[in-house]
Symmetry: C2
Subunit: 415 residues, 2 copies
């Protein structure tokens, strides 16, 4: 099918799913989780096919080992995938929530009600477990999706979405075409142009993918390209805490976007050489004159710089950072407040590791991704980020002319 | 000064104003309102200069009479401009509000706190009163702005912003370069490209201006191009109410974006000819086969169509509408609910005029504009639409490794 027809069908489906009640959506999610459980051998078989082909690409150097690892489904990932869907069933329904009720005048009541965004375009790299997760999030938030996965996982992706859609076909009242999949580069190009039907693009993948998407579409993009996170060690910081937190932020998972890349140390911090020594002892490579202060190592490598003041640290972060997550380590709460107010990032932390920037750790239950945008949604984005709102106004024939003439007056009373 | 330097200075100012307390911002707003009041003759003089030049353009047909009228400041507009600023002082400060507080674990507390967006680019047509209004909204929401007004009002705009900035210069602690102005088409082109420093573009003007901007920038745009609003008269509608509401929605201010453009009438509505006759008697020109169902007349002209069902009405609106505001007139509350849930517009109304779609009427106190976006802000947008949030996390040296190893567990308790 042509992309434009897929997009039109998704738009139609988005209008239909918007109206489903929570019970029906949860019933659908249960059916999806059950179907994946029942058909897991089929999914493993498809994944084996992908892995066979990928193995050759790894051998010839066309595919990295880490991509291969992400592509591979095992019992743990399968279990997480299924329990992830069941967790989403338990989350509060983010749509049809009344955000406020206001009397504009007698018998003229305004309701602000949350509703789905519409059609989401999801572009992700070789991680087949994303399909099940995003499908579940879309169902719960009543959005339609068009998924484009990495070509390396095409068999796995097709099989998983086929199983999910068969399960949904059996749910009476669940609309067709909520979950759609496309496969080619041309489809991606069409998707990025399709602002008539697609309301939000969510890229899940590396820096290069996200940058390419942001530069090639007018559709709002929710995500982050870079994760240039900082830790500022103030002069009053506790050495032991600094060693522990910096090591966690750098080494617990170095390729995560919320891992620290640059360490700023107050030049009057009395234990600065002890700190650096402890980091090196832990196997962290320290770089003092990096080629760029905006480079994401994704590895056990850390840039560091001495700064003269809190202000210099804040300015460095606002200049070179990516607005993701930045932390101050200090015993001076006034400095901590200033840092948290002045650093213009989605996450501003005090005496804790940048690695906490994550939807699950924040208690959102599920995460769509982490956004460094300054509009709509910022930081780890849960189900709420897939919603917007509409205003419902219920009257009894009121007209504006009566309020303009002064015959009637607004009461503007929150109910 | 080059645009890029203005933008950089605005970005720096945005970081400084973000941290101001409510009292200081209100003090600045009071000074601004007082200064405009004191200097109003100077503003009228500048406006007269613009009007002289505009008069020649109207005579030669290069400028419309309605643009001329919008350009002209009189005592009423001056009074509204000043009282508009004083009203904004009374509004709740939209930033530094704690949106939630959550314990992630003992002594690890997450705060979601509202904050300004950053730098706003405002592009507006010949309405010099917009400068004062947007400046006041920017100060209250702690955003920096770069304003580009219509060239016809250049003297008035320069004078008003000059007076405002002189007043702000006298406020101790108020940062420089919060309110900036540019004047040329080249500046607009630079602004639309400047996604490094500008976080949101707000166009205030006609359909053509907004469309041009949306098509020529990757920066999020808050606004609406079209206002194709509908009223659906259901078969059970009350005739008297229908006549009254449709006349209000079409004629109370025909060039408003929330005026109705298309009337859909259930073919079984028994009084359909009476309704149409009453509208014609009121001077509304009725068109039954319009060239396009998506045309905004902005005049006392109304397209109409008979439909077979509520579903057909909903489908028509979702196909040809602009997602602005649409109303159903009915005595059937079930149909009303279905209409409000299924019509995918920012405003979905039941038994009332589409003209209520307005920030002041909604009780927001001030309005930035009306958005038909599906992300960030939708419908009439008040101060809240100029904010986003950041996550502050305060800990005592916690590290992620302890939660991954299972040594510690999240409590996720809302406080």
């Amino acid at each position: 099918m042509d992309f434009i027809n897929i997009a039109k069908a998704a738009k139609q489906a988005s209008l239909e799913i918007a109206d489903l009640n929570t019970d029906l959506k949860n019933k659908a999610l249960t059916a999806v989780a059950d179907a994946i459980e029942t058909n897991k051998e089929k999914i493993f078989d498809a994944n084996k096919k992908d892995l066979e082909e990928a193995k050759a690409l790894v051998a010839s150097g066309e595919l990295s080992q880490s991509t291969f690892n992400r592509l591979k489904l095992d019992d743990n990932k399968m279990r997480d995938m299924i329990s992830g869907i069941r967790d989403i069933i338990k989350l509060e329904d983010p749509v049809n929530k009344t955000l406020f009720t206001r009397e504009l005048d007698k018998d003229l009541i305004l309701y602000k009600v949350s509703c789905p965004i519409g059609v989401l375009g999801i572009i992700f790299e070789a991680r087949p477990d994303v399909i099940a997760q995003i499908s579940a999030l879309a169902i719960k938030s009543a959005n339609a999706v068009i998924l484009k996965g990495g070509k390396e996982s095409i068999n796995t992706n097709k099989t998983i979405l086929g199983i999910i859609n068969s399960a949904l076909d059996n749910i009476e009242g669940f609309p067709k075409n909520v979950l759609n999949q496309v496969f080619t580069r041309d489809d991606v190009a069409e998707m990025l142009k399709c602002d008539k039907y697609i309301n939000l693009i969510i890229p899940r993948g590396g820096n290069k993918l996200v940058k390419f998407i942001k530069e090639n579409t007018k559709i709002p993009v929710l995500g982050h390209a870079d994760g240039i996170c900082h830790i500022f060690v103030d002069k009053s910081a506790d050495l032991e805490m600094a060693v522990k937190v910096v090591i966690d932020a750098k080494t617990q998972y170095p390729s995560a976007c919320n891992a620290v890349e640059t360490l700023l140390i107050h030049e009057e911090f009395p234990f600065k050489t002890d700190l650096l020594k402890a980091l090196e002892t832990d196997g962290i490579k320290l770089i003092t004159h990096p080629e760029s202060w905006s480079f994401e190592y994704g590895d056990k490598i850390l840039s560091y710089k001495y700064v003269k003041s809190l202000d210099e640290a804040i300015e460095h972060i606002n200049t070179y950072g990516s607005g993701h997550t930045d932390s101050i380590l200090t015993t001076d709460t006034e400095n901590a407040e200033k840092f948290m107010n002045k650093v213009d990032s989605a996450g501003v932390y005090f005496n804790t590791s940048t690695r906490f920037a994550d939807g699950f750790r924040y208690g959102f239950g599920a995460e769509v991704g982490i956004s460094t945008n300054k509009t709509h949604a910022r930081g780890p984005v849960g189900l709420e980020g897939l919603t917007i709102y509409k205003y419902k106004l219920k009257g009894k024939g009121q007209i504006v002319a009566d309020y303009v003439s002064g015959e009637k007056h607004f009461t503007h009373r929150d109910l």
